[in-house]
């Protein structure tokens, strides 16, 4: 789960990390009130979960009220890589002479958290990592002991941070690690940390991603998650408790188990179609879950046809079939053609139960996907 910059920065500020003065605004008037309090220059920053906001035009620096009004008006409501901007962070501009990158993430290969520091801040760190991995200093933390303060200092010195600010940067990094642990973060990143002419150190951006599996013990963050959905369908999936990812194609996909659903997406692509979504309905799919899953794909305007693929382990094919029949019986007219393929536990019983007036049935995964791709093609022709 990704927090917005303004959410992460409020957590940073509460922990004592220096951040620029800022206000959240959802209208041009609010943005102008904010700049009146903060002064100029002021950054107007779109609050969306999109990388490269600056390059895409989602961050502008206003030097007077007229500019602030124009930029706020431009950015609010803007479409940024498919997301509509509905709030901006208005923030005091920082006059900087140097930029650093600092971060904490889980190195899954090592099974340990890792601290990262680079003097090549302010740019896309993934590119730095790829082109010049030595430009990022790393230090693994033993999760049983937690961070020893010396480790934060060591990695900062190793990265070549200027000596006069090194301890301040190490102190920020140390606090970031505490936040990483306390909040069950999967990743915290400040890019850039700005060094001002007065040699102050300021966290100018904030990325904080939370381990979704830990939200049960992070009630405050779970509440923030509510604020952070950006797509109505993602919000709905969150309410239903589905693992859901929206893509740009027109073949809706419902299945059980991450690997098999991913495979179904891949096969849609392989047979010349374009997947519209990833939707894992999970184990033991009862009628209510099936109804909710169909509601998800039917509410996606991009979807022209649907493939429903279940391989029953715990999930029983006859129960899924009953669920599909019940769910579709609620419609006077089925909005989009649904191809169903059931396999595994009680699959044969399930195939017999399925009402073929409501759905099309195929025996193999390959056939089901090809039929759904064809159905989608027929709609678009």
């Amino acid at each position: 789960m990704k927090l917005h910059e303004y959410q992460a920065k409020s957590i940073f500020a509460d922990a004592g990390i220096p951040v620029p003065d800022s206000r959240l605004a959802t209208s041009v008037d609010e943005a102008l009130d904010a700049v009146d309090e903060i002064g100029y220059p002021a950054a107007i920053k779109a609050q969306v979960h999109v990388g490269g906001r600056g390059k895409a035009g989602g961050i502008k620096i206003a030097t007077d009220r007229e500019e602030a009004e124009a930029y706020a008006d431009e950015i609010l409501g803007m479409d940024l890589k498919g997301y509509t901007v509905d709030r901006v962070l208005v923030e005091a501009g920082v006059d900087f002479v140097d930029e650093l990158y600092v971060g904490v993430t889980m190195d899954r290969g090592e099974g340990k958290p890792v601290l990262m520091v680079s003097t090549e801040g302010g740019v896309n760190i993934e590119e730095v990592a790829e082109e010049n991995p030595d430009a990022i200093a790393r230090e693994h933390v033993d999760p049983a002991f937690g961070l020893h303060p010396y480790q934060a200092r060591k990695v900062v010195y190793e990265a070549g941070v200027d000596a006069d600010v090194a301890l301040d940067v190490a102190s920020i990094l140390s606090t970031l690690y505490d936040l990483y642990e306390e909040n069950d973060a999967s990743e915290i990143e400040v890019n850039p940390v700005m060094i001002t002419e007065d040699r102050d150190v300021v966290a100018a951006d904030a990325v904080m991603n939370i381990d979704e599996d830990a939200l049960f013990r992070q009630p405050d963050l779970a509440e923030m998650a509510e604020e952070s959905y950006e797509d109505d369908l993602e919000r709905k999936a969150g309410e239903y408790g589905f693992d859901y990812v929206r893509l740009s194609g027109n073949v809706g996909i419902i299945g059980n188990g991450a690997g098999l659903v991913m495979t179904t997406l891949d096969l849609v692509d392989y047979y010349g179609g374009a997947p519209a979504n990833f939707l894992d309905i999970g184990g033991g799919a009862k009628a209510e879950r099936v109804t909710q899953a169909l509601d998800m794909v039917f509410s996606d305007d991009n979807v022209d046809a649907v493939v429903f693929n279940i391989f029953g382990g715990i999930t029983r094919g006859d129960e899924v079939a009953k669920g599909i029949n019940e769910a579709l019986a609620q419609f006077d007219e089925i909005p989009k053609k649904v191809v169903v393929r059931l396999a595994g536990t009680n699959a044969e019983e399930g195939m017999e139960i399925l009402n073929t007036d409501l759905v099309e049935v195929e025996k193999t995964l390959e056939d089901a996907v090809q039929r759904a791709v064809k159905n989608a093609e027929e709609v678009t022709q």
Binding site: G51, G103, T105, M106, D107, R108, G109, G111, K112, P113, V114, M116, I125, E126, A129, E130, P133, I136, D142, P143, A144, E181, D184, S186, E187, D211, E212, D213, A214, F216, R217, D243, V245, L247, G255, N256, G257, A258, G259, L260, M262, T263, L265, D266, L267, V268, D269, Y270, P275, F278, F311, G312, G313, I314, A343, G344, T345, T364, L365, E366
Partner: protein
């Protein structure tokens, strides 16, 4: 022959009184697995389907001579349950639970490096040696015994591939789900190493997916250390970057790994054919045998 579990494996089920634990303990017994005990704090002295329940894993092992455990404990308590299994010196612990916080697993991982216990999972369907023993939630009826080893990060994808194999009369020596979480116990390399050493495994199927570098490491291992032929499948070719379908941040590796293409290329370089569809995987295995 088989790897990790067989006729002699004696199993304690952690969480046997819960809905999932009770149901699957029953299924395991029905399959012929020696389920000798359950362990649930506060439920010691009870019985579930004739299986005695103890308050701790330690007591269960002491009384019933168990050497493996299967963990059906909710995510909030599962990290603790895995620690209990590791601290009891079992040969094998299989963690079925999905949704254990990653930072809990980092701590488990640290302990794992200090014990001799093998951990499978978490977030895995378990392990089955067809006709002998099943530890987990895999549907026993789709498996048949034979000489194909299978190792996979995903449950239902395993079932799909096994179904394709069984349909063609290609039985399995052992099938292992290693789990879909970022931090897991047994890796692809560990499982491949065991299959290579098993005289009755003549071909191996490896089902990977996007994220992390386990498949790349496995490819290197296959290229350098394996004579047994391996066929591969990689899920997630169409997954967008940065979305949670199992995808890790590419920044730690910093070398362009983690994508389906990187894994497919690594496997191909090691001489492993990768199927475009599950059916094609079965085609490759058929050619091997």
């Amino acid at each position: 022959m088989s790897i990790f579990v067989d006729d002699d494996t004696r199993v304690v089920v952690q969480g046997i009184t819960g809905g999932e634990g009770k149901f699957h303990a029953g299924q395991m017994i029905e399959y012929g697995t020696n389920v000798v005990a359950g362990a649930v704090p506060g439920k010691g002295g009870q019985e579930v389907d004739g299986v005695p329940v103890y308050d701790t894993v330690d007591e269960a092992v002491e009384a019933e001579d168990a050497d493996a455990s299967v963990i059906f404990v909710p995510p909030a308590f599962a990290g603790d349950a895995v620690f209990e299994a590791l601290d009891t010196d079992l040969d094998l612990a299989v963690a079925i639970t999905e949704g254990i916080p990653t930072q809990d697993m980092a701590k488990v991982n640290k302990r794992l490096s200090e014990t001799d216990t093998r951990l499978l999972g978490p977030n895995c369907p378990g392990i089955i040696t067809p006709g002998e023993a099943k530890l987990g939630i895999l549907p026993g009826n789709i498996f048949s015994d034979g000489n194909v080893g299978l190792v996979s990060r995903s449950g239902t994808l395993t079932y799909q591939v096994v179904d394709n194999l069984t349909e063609r009369g290609l039985g399995q020596s052992t099938a292992i789900g290693i789990g879909g979480d970022p931090i897991i116990g047994t890796s692809f390399v560990d499982a491949l190493e065991a299959f290579e050493a098993d005289p009755d495994t003549d071909a191996v199927v490896m089902c990977g997916e996007i994220g992390g570098e386990d498949e790349e490491q496995a490819a290197r291992f296959i290229g350098e250390h394996m004579d047994t032929p391996v066929a591969g499948f990689i899920a997630g070719r169409t997954a967008p970057p940065g979305k949670r379908m199992g995808h890790a941040g590419a920044i730690v590796s910093g070398s362009g790994t983690g994508t389906a293409q990187s894994k497919i290329d690594a496997l191909n370089d090691a001489g492993v054919p990768v199927g475009d569809t599950p059916e094609e995987v079965a085609d490759h295995v058929e050619e091997f045998l």
